[in-house]
Amino acid sequence: MSDLENFREETKSWLEANCPEEMRKPVRDDSDVYWGGRKATFQNDAQKAWFEAARDKGYTVPSWPKEYGGAGLSPAEAKILRQEMAAIGARPPLSSFGIWMLGPALLKFGTEGQKKRFLNEIARGEIRWCQGYSEPGSGSDLVSMQTYGEDKGDHWVVNGQKIWTSYADKADWIFCLVRTNKEDKYKGITFMLFDMAGEGVTTKPILLISGNSPFCETFFDNVKVPKSYGDDCPGFVGEINRGWDVAKYLLGHEREMISGMGGGDRTTAIGTAMKRHAAKTGDDIDPVLRSEMALFDVDALAFTAMAEKFMDEMKAGKGHPAQPNMMKYVGTEINKRRHELMMSAGGSRSLEWESDETRGGKPSREWLRTKANSIEGGTSEVMLNVISKRILELPGG
């Protein structure tokens, strides 16, 4: 039996022994997700047991090196673990922006000291991170951000405001873009790391048109950010004033994550579900709406094939490097259309905002929430700009 086959057997039995039944049920909402951090509490014993078992095995971040809290799995082994977890529907033992965003950045740009400290804290779920990028004045034009850190020798004094900082009110630390040189737009930003519990940091949750959201506004009023947290552990990633390189890397990383979503995973026609739904309520689907669904399903099912092709090509290192922008553009636009059609099929019932029959207005709130898909993580307009420049190589503009 090959090593990989061995590994698969071991993994199966380990999961069997360590992943409780309750942790094999689909995640219903955010309360089922364990985010870790200082203020974290467990939903139940099962969640605690599953997290701790995974943490001790390094399976909160399986492919990270052992010395940073991971299990040092090879890509092939990591894939097997994913497959076996999917097979039993195991929930992720730990979720966090540390794992998704800061981790990859540190693995690429961090010092040994930073990796040892911060990656282990992330892997062990001790520190929950949030991301400080956008500002009210700088959305698509991120690099125009103004939050400023004044150099005070061994530390900076940071003043300014960030927006769209997810879970800032729940996070312990923030990785944050701060301007440290007003002369140079691109080479004047530093990628800082600091504690949200520090003096002068306040957060305010943002109410969306769809209702409550994880997003916050975050304000910095003379926040002291040390340039070093000790031996070989600077308070910033990469070089001072070169934080934009780190940010760009993470944005690409983020876009790739998003580009996999948005209908790409769905393979059933919307019309099928909608007709079944309408039949329950004694409705039938209007012929013109039916046709719109048919035309949508052509686009959506074709995009499903595109998503599969995109993933296959990514794995094989084929395909244009800017292709994630196209996937993000189309995927989010399709998802918006899907919810428009679902609202139409649902009729007046789907307009209800708080009723029990709609579980608190799920259809309309989800419909409204999809409108952000084509804005967050790079607007559709920016995606189209990138496609025309980098893929079609159209000039200037």
Binding site: S140, K336, S348, L351, W353, E354, S364
Partner: protein
């Protein structure tokens, strides 16, 4: 008649826009009542003011104490209501119910119209029985009992049902669910025994009721128009309501578009005002065209309806469908062009998107009316 407003109509438009911008604006009405979780979803004070402005009885015949105006005039008020997202009973009470009562006995008129004209009363209409608009199918039964009727069945999407003093209910007095004939309209007063309402808040913060009638006893004189001959009144009511909803939709579209164009002229990215980006300019110009056309179709439908022209029915569905498309585009482009802040409850553009959705669904969405255009055109 030329397809633009006469001088009188232009004057009405001026006073309506001034009044509603002042008294009916988003902060004074929609947000005010929404944030207080008001069970009506609108303000009775404003309703009184609208009565003083002479709006509430616009469509009521002069003989019945109203102004005897037409759908062009009602549309002028509705466009301003749409532009300001003003929650009010105008569309349901002064357009739909008033049209039905125009066909009612002098007794019923005397009972209900004065309250409407005074802005004291609020009326609702109960037509739909499922989640999609399908007036061809009326299953709610009204059986003869004594010299009156007994009402049994259920209705949904009854806007402001729980706030209403009277509800116009379309029920079946003979024939089977899909029959053209055999419909009768009833004026059902609030608090009748056997009527239970389940009011729910909608995405646009308005209130709509699911109503069940469990053997509700009605006098014979509650009948509006002819027994079994209610389809004609129902159709008149639907036409008035649809062209009215179209007019309000034009206002929603215009309001969302104006707000977005303004934003394009202020918001800076990449060192320039985003309104300088040609891709956005072309989308804005296309949106402008769509809104202009939607307004033209609506005025045309209003005029035909006022003339009692046979083609009014077709043009009404054209207008309702076109407005739904144009206003839908306006709010989608509005939120997208506003970017992140367009998604926040703090900004008004999202309120336009919510109202547009509810309004488009009311009395038949774009798909329903496009299909109707095909059917009326014989294909």
């Amino acid at each position: 008649m030329p397809l633009y407003h006469t001088e009188d109509q232009a004057m009405l438009a001026d006073s309506a826009s001034g009044f509603l911008a002042e008294e009916g604006n988003i902060n004074k009405q929609l947000r005010h009542w929404r944030d207080r979780d008001c069970k009506d979803g609108f303000g009775h004070g404003l309703w009184k003011q609208m009565a003083e402005m002479g709006f509430t009885g616009m469509l009521v015949a002069e003989d019945d104490g109203g102004l005897g105006m037409g759908h062009v005039e009602a549309g002028i008020v509705l466009e301003e209501i749409g532009r300001n997202l003003t929650p009010s009973p105008f569309l349901t009470s002064s357009v739909l119910a008033a049209t039905a009562l125009g066909h009612a006995s002098s007794d019923l008129k005397g009972r209900y119209l004065p309250g409407l004209i005074e802005g004291e009363s609020v009326f609702a209409v109960a037509i739909d029985e499922t989640a999609k608009h399908r007036p061809s199918r009326i299953a709610t039964k009204a059986e003869k009992s004594g010299n009156g009727f007994k009402l049994t069945g259920s209705k949904s999407f009854v806007i402001q049902g729980a706030s209403s003093d009277m509800i116009v209910v379309a029920a079946r007095t003979s024939g089977s669910d899909e029959d053209e004939h055999g419909i009768t309209l009833f004026a059902v007063p609030k608090d009748v025994n056997g009527m239970s309402q389940n009011p729910v808040r909608l995405v646009d913060s308005s209130m709509a009721s699911h109503i069940t009638f469990d053997g509700v006893e009605l006098d014979g004189d509650a009948v509006i128009g002819e027994v079994d001959g209610g389809r004609e009144v129902l159709n008149a009511m639907l036409a008035a309501g649809r062209v009215g909803a179209a007019a309000e939709g034009v206002g929603v579209a215009q309001g969302a578009m104006d707000m977005t164009i303004d934003y394009l002229k202020q918001r800076k990215q990449f060192g320039k005002v985003i309104g300088e980006f040609q891709a956005l300019q072309h989308r804005a110009a296309h949106l402008y065209s769509e809104v202009e056309i939607a307004r033209a179709a609506t005025i045309k439908a209003q005029q035909l309806l006022d003339e009692g022209a046979p083609s009014a029915d077709l043009m009404t569905s054209v207008a309702k469908a076109k407005v739904a498309k144009a206003a839908g585009l306006a709010v989608k482009e509005g939120v997208q062009m506003h970017g992140g802040i367009g998604m926040t409850d703090e900004y008004d553009i999202g309120l336009y998107m919510k109202r547009d959705r509810a309004l488009a669904e009311f009395l038949g969405d774009a798909y329903f009316h496009a299909n109707r255009v095909a059917e009326l055109s014989g294909y």
